[in-house]
C-alpha cells in the first residue's frame, strides 16, 4: 500500500515538475498545484492505518491516525490560498507585460534594466557637465 502511494505521489510530482518547466505561465501554476497535491498525498500516506474514527472510538480495536489527516487538510487549505494568490499574480503579470510566455517576460525585464542603467548614466553625465 505504501508503495502504491509512493508511486502515485511520484507520478503526480513528476507531471507537476514537467509542467513547471513549461513556458506558459498558467501551466507553471498548474504544475505547482500538482506538486502541492503530491505533497498532500505523501502526508496522508505517511501514517495510513485502517481503524476507528478517532473522534469517538466505539468498541475496542485500533484507532486510525488523525494527525496525518489534519496535516493534509491544513496543507490543502494553505495550498488553495497560495494557488489563488499565484493566479492573481499571473493575471497582473499578463496585464503588465501583455504576454504569458516566460521568455518574453525575461526579455522585457532585461530590456528595461538596460534602459534604466543607460538613463542613470546619462543623468550622471548631464550633471557632471552642468557642474
Amino acid at each position: 500500500m505504501t508503495f502504491l502511494f509512493a508511486l502515485t505521489a511520484a507520478v503526480v510530482f513528476g507531471t507537476g515538475a514537467y509542467l513547471v518547466l513549461d513556458r506558459d505561465l498558467v501551466r507553471v501554476v498548474l504544475g505547482l498545484v500538482l506538486i502541492s497535491q503530491a505533497a498532500v498525498l505523501t502526508l496522508i500516506a505517511s501514517s495510513l492505518r485502517r481503524g476507528l474514527a478517532p473522534i469517538y472510538p466505539l468498541g475496542g480495536g485500533e484507532v486510525s491516525d488523525p494527525l496525518s489527516q489534519a496535516m493534509a487538510l491544513t496543507a490543502i487549505v494553505i495550498g488553495l490560498a497560495v494557488t489563488a494568490l499565484l493566479l492573481a499574480l499571473v493575471v497582473r503579470v499578463v496585464h503588465a507585460f501583455g504576454s504569458e510566455e516566460l521568455d518574453e517576460l525575461a526579455e522585457e525585464a532585461q530590456r528595461q534594466a538596460r534602459s534604466e542603467t543607460a538613463a542613470d548614466e546619462a543623468r550622471k553625465v548631464e550633471e557632471e557637465a552642468a557642474r
Partner: protein, 456 residues
C-alpha cells in the same frame, strides 16, 4: 510564558487588522511600527528570560503535553527571532518615512514579522511549516510592492521557486512523520537515532534542498539576483536580512539538532557547496556595476560562509554560523537600504557597510570573519578559502563605492533627513557590534550550546 504569547499574538492580531486599513496613511504606518516595536520588546524580554532560566515551553490550547502543539523558545530561536524582528522594524521605519505606496504594505510587514516569530519559536515541525508559509505568503505579496513590470516579474520568479522549495519541505516533513511518528522536534531528535539510515539521508536531503532554495545557496541561487534587484530596497532588505534567516535557522535546527548524524556525513559536501557559493557570488559580484546587483550576488557569497561553518560542525562552528548570520543580516539591511539613497551621510554609511562585508576591523563583519577563522583553525584550505572570499568581497564592495560616490554625488535629490538618520543609526550599530562584540558573541555561543546540548 506570557511573553512568548505576546510576542506571537500581538503582531498576528494587529497585522490582520492593519491589512484592512489604508497603509498609505501615515498613521497606519506608524501604528505598524509601534506594533513591531512591541514585538521586538517582547522578544527582548523573552531573550533575557531564556538566557537566565533556560528554554521556555508552552503547549497551546491547554492540551496535555504530547498532544497539543508546542511552542518552544530556546537560545537559538530567540536570537534569530530578535534579529529578524529588528531587521523588519528598521526596514519598515525606513519605508514609512519615505512614504508607503500601497495600502497593504504595513499590515503585510507586521504579518511577516508574526510568521517569522512563529517559525523561530515553534517546537513542532508541521507548525514550523504553517508559520513559514505565513511569512512566505506575506513576502510574496511584498515582492510585488511598487507594482511595475520589474517588481511583478521578480515576484513571479520568487513565488514559483519558493513554493517549490516549500513543497519539498512538506514532503520531508511527511517523511519524518512516517519514520518517527512524531512532529515534536525534541521527540524526533530522540527517535532519529533508530531510524533506517537510508530514509534519514533522504529526509535530510529534502530539508537541505528546501532551505537551500530559501537561502539562495549556489546550486539553488538562480532566482535570487532577479528578485533582489527587482524588488524595492526596503523589501530587498527584509528578504535578505530577515526572510533568508529562515534558511540558516532551518539548516541549524534541522541539521544540527534533528539530523546530527546526517549532517556529519554531509559535512564535506556542505563545505564544498558553501565554498562554491563564496567563489561564485564573489566573482559575479565583481562583474556587476550597480549597487543592487552587486548586493544580490554578494548575498549568495555571504551565505556560503554560513554553510561552510555549518559543514565544519561542532559548537564553535555553529556559534560562528549564528554570529555570521546575524552580522550578515545587519550588513545586508544597511546596504540594501542605503543602495538607492542620496545625501550627506549616505556615502559614509555605505562605506561602513562595505568595510563590514569585507571584514575590516572596526566594523561588525570583522568579528564574524574572526569567528569563522577560529572555527576553521585546523584546516589551511578553509582558511585560504575564507581569505580569498574576503578579498573578493573587498574588491566588489569598494568597486561599487568608488563608482557611486567618488565620481561625484549620485544623481537626483537627497533623501529625507530622517531617513538618513535611520541608516546612520543602523551603521552605528554595525560599528558598535564591531567595537564591542561581547554581547553578540555570548549570545551566539549560548545559542550554539542550546543546539548541541543533546548531542554527545
Amino acid at each position: 510564558m506570557t511573553t512568548l504569547a505576546i510576542a506571537l499574538v500581538v503582531p498576528w492580531g494587529a497585522g490582520t487588522v492593519l491589512v484592512l486599513l489604508d497603509g498609505r496613511r501615515r498613521v497606519v504606518g506608524w501604528v505598524a511600527v509601534a506594533v513591531l516595536a512591541g514585538n521586538l520588546a517582547a522578544l527582548g524580554v523573552l531573550t533575557a528570560l531564556v538566557l537566565r532560566n533556560g528554554p521556555i515551553s508552552v503547549t497551546t490550547g491547554n492540551w496535555p503535553e504530547g498532544v497539543g502543539i508546542t511552542l518552544h523558545a530556546d537560545a537559538l530561536g530567540v536570537v534569530f527571532a530578535l534579529l529578524s524582528s529588528f531587521v523588519v522594524l528598521t526596514a519598515l521605519v525606513h519605508e514609512v518615512i519615505e512614504g508607503t505606496r500601497e495600502r497593504v504594505f504595513p499590515g503585510l510587514v507586521v504579518l511577516l514579522a508574526a510568521g517569522l516569530t512563529g517559525v523561530f519559536l515553534t517546537g513542532d515541525i508541521f507548525n514550523f511549516y504553517v508559520f513559514f508559509e505565513l511569512a512566505m505568503t506575506a513576502s510574496y505579496i511584498l515582492a510585488t510592492y511598487g507594482g511595475t513590470k520589474r517588481e511583478l516579474g521578480a515576484a513571479l520568479v520568487f513565488m514559483a521557486v519558493n513554493l517549490l522549495g516549500t513543497f519539498i519541505f512538506l514532503l520531508a516533513v511527511a517523511g519524518v512523520y512516517h519514520v518517527t511518528g512524531s512532529l515534536e522536534m525534541q521527540t524526533i531528535a530522540a527517535r532519529m537515532d533508530n531510524v533506517d539510515a537510508n530514509a534519514a539521508v533522504l529526509i535530510a536531503v529534502g530539508f537541505f534542498a528546501a532551505f537551500g532554495v530559501k537561502l539562495g545557496l549556489f546550486p539553488f541561487h538562480f532566482w535570487l539576483p532577479t528578485v533582489y534587484t527587482g524588488v524595492r530596497p526596503a523589501v530587498a532588505a527584509i528578504l535578505s536580512g530577515a526572510v533568508a534567516n529562515i534558511g540558516a535557522y532551518g539548516l541549524l535546527r534541522f541539521g544540527g539538532e534533528l539530523l546530527p548524524r546526517e549532517l556529519e556525513v554531509a559535512g564535506v559536501a556542505l563545505v564544498v557547496i558553501g565554498g562554491a557559493s563564496i567563489l561564485y557570488g564573489g566573482v559575479l559580484a565583481i562583474s556587476r556595476r550597480s549597487a543592487g546587483e552587486m548586493l544580490a550576488y554578494s548575498a549568495i557569497g555571504q551565505i556560503g560562509y554560513v554553510l561552510v561553518a555549518i559543514g565544519i560542525g561542532g559548537q564553535v562552528a555553529f556559534a560562528a554560523a549564528i554570529l555570521y548570520t546575524a552580522v550578515n543580516a545587519l550588513n545586508k539591511t544597511l546596504l540594501f537600504l542605503s543602495a538607492q539613497m542620496r545625501g550627506a551621510v549616505v556615502a559614509g554609511v555605505f562605506a561602513l557597510g562595505a568595510f563590514s562585508v569585507a571584514g575590516v576591523p572596526p566594523a561588525a563583519g570583522f568579528v564574524g570573519k574572526l569567528e569563522l577563522f577560529r572555527a576553521a583553525a585546523g584546516s589551511p584550505a578553509l582558511i585560504a578559502l575564507f581569505f580569498v572570499g574576503s578579498a573578493l568581497s573587498f574588491v566588489y564592495a569598494f568597486q561599487i563605492y568608488q563608482h557611486d560616490f567618488w565620481r561625484g554625488p549620485r544623481p537626483g535629490t537627497p533623501s529625507a533627513a530622517s531617513e538618513q538618520v535611520v541608516v546612520a543609526a543602523l551603521a552605528l550599530l554595525v560599528l558598535a557590534v564591531g567595537i564591542w562584540p561581547e554581547p553578540l558573541l555570548a549570545l551566539s555561543h549560548d545559542a550554539a550550546e542550546a543546539l548541541t546540548r543533546g548531542a554527545p
